[in-house]
């Protein structure tokens, strides 16, 4: 029967599993997001570190190729924990730009258009809603952080041989854990800001402020009070501390401890972890407060 001749009839077909329901959100969101040329541009730029790193790994492991392009010496760089640490720092910055571009637009349109009752009157919970929106960012940011890094790790293991893979498993763990922590922190922050600041540009601006203005305040605090605790409001500093610990790389600040200036001391890694996880918890609380089908006016 032609579709326009059909009348209302009840639905008696099969239903999808409950646990798969949250995946509908990223599917629709990503389809909309990939209409944006800016996002595609950002993703392409984010692939550049991967391509450069892959080239470096190839050249490092291939003396003939080095000779062909006129490079002399044993190797260009040592492919070790420092290499992957520096790579993750660059990719982390690009991931931040992607988050600042798409994160604020994920929740605020639903609140502006009063769409939450439509989601929540269905067999779909607030947790699934947050998971769905979060997975949009997690998918995209994974594509520019730990997934290419693990490919590079595999490439290096393949080219180096001699049990490099098993000897450096801690690097693979650091890549995955460090990336996922950074992705989770900035994604939750972006969602929380998106839920509380309805104007997308303002939410993006606030995100930059939280990451960079807070860092400036923290540094000023350190200089005035001759302490290092101002770093605790600098999220970029904290994630670098955690990454350095995961990769087993001493940070620049740690090197300068011998100077004896308390400002040069670094925040203990445990505190850095606690603050980053605390930020995640706070963001979840903010989302819980904001994401209700009906707002109760007290």
């Amino acid at each position: 029967m032609a579709v326009y001749k059909r009348t209302y009839k009840p639905y008696s077909g099969e239903l999808t599993a409950n646990w798969t329901r949250f995946a509908i959100l990223p599917r629709y969101s990503l389809a909309t997001l990939f209409d944006s040329k800016i996002l595609i541009g950002l993703l392409l730029v984010s692939l550049l570190p991967f391509l450069v790193a892959a080239t470096i790994i190839y050249l490092t492991n291939n003396p003939v190729a080095r000779t062909l392009i006129g490079l002399r010496g044993e190797s260009i760089l040592s492919i070790d924990n420092r290499f992957f640490f520096q790579l993750l720092k660059i990719q982390g910055s690009l991931a931040f730009l992607i988050t600042a571009w798409i994160g604020p637009g994920l929740v605020s349109p639903d609140l502006t258009n009063n769409a939450l009752p439509l989601y929540l009157c269905r067999p779909f919970s607030r947790v699934e809603y947050v998971l769905g929106k979060l997975s949009v960012l997690v998918l995209l940011l994974s594509l520019v952080t730990w997934i290419p890094d693990l490919l590079l790790y595999g490439l290096q293991a393949e080219l180096e041989g001699n049990s490099w893979f098993t000897k450096n498993l801690s690097i693979a763990g650091a890549i995955v854990l460090g990336s996922l922590l950074w992705i989770t922190v900035q994604s939750l922050l972006a969602l929380a800001l998106s839920a509380w600041v309805k104007w997308r540009i303002a939410a993006s601006g606030l995100m930059f402020a939280i990451f960079f203005v807070a860092a400036g305040f923290g540094e000023a605090f350190n200089q005035v009070l001759r302490t290092y605790w101002g770093h605790t409001i600098n999220l970029v500093y904290l994630i670098n501390e955690v990454w350095a610990d995961l990769f087993g790389v001493p940070t620049a600040v740690s090197f300068s401890r011998r100077i004896g200036d308390p400002r040069s001391l670094s925040v203990p890694v445990g505190i850095a972890w606690a603050i980053l996880l605390g930020v995640c918890g706070l963001c979840l609380l903010l989302l819980n407060r904001r994401l209700t089908a009906r707002e109760v006016v007290r």
């Binding site: 579709v3 326009y4 059909r6 009348t7 209302y8 009839k9 009840p10 639905y11 008696s12 077909g13 099969e14 239903l15 999808t16 329901r21 509908i24 629709y28 909309t32 349109p109 639903d110 502006t112 258009n113 009063n114 769409a115 009752p117 439509l118 989601y119 929540l120 009157c121 269905r122 067999p123 779909f124 919970s125 209700t292 089908a293 009906r294 109760v296 006016v297 007290r298």
Partner: protein, 309 residues
């Protein structure tokens, strides 16, 4: 007939303020009208039945299942058309409805098919690829109805579905609601300020006032009793006149300015009303027969508040 909605001493407080105060009742109609003045608790009741607000005490059951424990699975069987504009930004109409159907549990292909069907069914077939944000108010109402029925719910909550519609659009909406009601696969709860909408669509009505049940009435049965309704405008009428009318067997609602609405029992003649008026020296200025049973039920339910006013 099996109860669709059962209310058991349902209390709901929002922001520490009691909104619903011990609602009791069993709703069995195919289409239930929810009436009441602003702030009576209609929307709060719908939101509670949808699981948006938790009862502070008591409970409600939909199809015999408790909303406190089974709301997640009950939502499979529920469709909801909100009162205000509710959309997903930047989507075409059919994509919006497909998205909503998928969230209700339909597989993508089925959801797509049902979304197209729902759009044609509500009469927006030709506009289904347009952005929802560009729809007129009437089209938005129809799109909201389409998303509410696309997944084939058993219980449909319609919150002010004719809000802002011009007369032809309102008539189309009312016809659609009646048609859906008559498919016999779906029950409807219709919240409205407009008595006429409820009168035309519903066979049962729940009237709320100040968060309590003011009346629960089966309109079908009211219609079947074929009662005669009478409107009086009088001068000089008092409590004694009202009492005398009630002694005749009339159900009587007075509005403080000599205006009365009466339900005449079988066998009572108009002459008897004139006789009572004459006995109490009451002048009859106007007398009308009316058929609008719902208005009488509503006004009677609201009577103490109006009398006080």
């Amino acid at each position: 007939m099996r109860s669709i909605i059962e209310l058991e001493n349902l209390h709901v407080a929002l922001g520490g303020r009691p909104i619903l105060k011990g609602l009791n009742g069993s709703l069995r109609g195919r289409a239930v009208g929810l009436l009441g003045p602003n702030g009576a608790g209609k929307s709060t009741l719908i939101n509670t039945l949808l699981g948006f607000h938790a009862p502070s005490s008591g409970t409600a059951r939909l199809f015999g299942r408790d909303i406190r424990s089974d709301i997640h699975s009950l939502r499979r069987q529920i469709g909801y058309m909100p009162e205000n504009d509710s959309f997903i930004a930047g989507m075409s109409g059919v994509r919006f409805v497909r998205y909503m159907a998928e969230l209700a549990g339909l597989p993508p292909n089925q959801a797509m098919e049902r979304a197209h069907e729902a759009f044609f069914y509500v009469g927006l077939g030709e506009a289904r690829y347009r952005d929802v944000n560009g729809y007129s108010l009437g089209m938005k109402q129809l799109a909201k109805l389409a998303q509410a029925i696309a997944h084939g719910p058993k219980l449909l909550f319609l919150d002010e579905p004719t809000n802002g519609l011009d007369p032809p659009a309102r008539a189309r909406m009312i016809n659609l609601i009646r048609e859906i009601r008559d498919t016999e696969d779906m029950h409807i709860v219709l919240s409205s300020h407009l008595l006429r909408d409820v009168e035309e669509c519903c066979d049962e009505v729940l009237i709320l006032k100040d968060g309590a049940v003011a009346a629960l009435s089966n309109l079908e049965e009211e219609r079947k009793t074929n009662k005669k309704f009478l409107e009086l405008e009088t001068v000089g009428a008092g409590a004694a006149f009202t009492e005398a009318l009630e002694q005749l067997g009339c159900e009587c609602a007075s509005f403080g300015t000599g205006k009365y609405r009466l339900v005449l029992p079988v066998g009572i003649q108009i002459q008897q009303i004139y006789a009572v008026a004459a006995n109490h020296h009451v002048e009859m200025r106007r007398m009308n027969y009316r058929r609008d049973s719902l208005e009488d039920i509503f006004l009677k339910a609201m009577q103490p508040a109006m009398g006080a006013a």
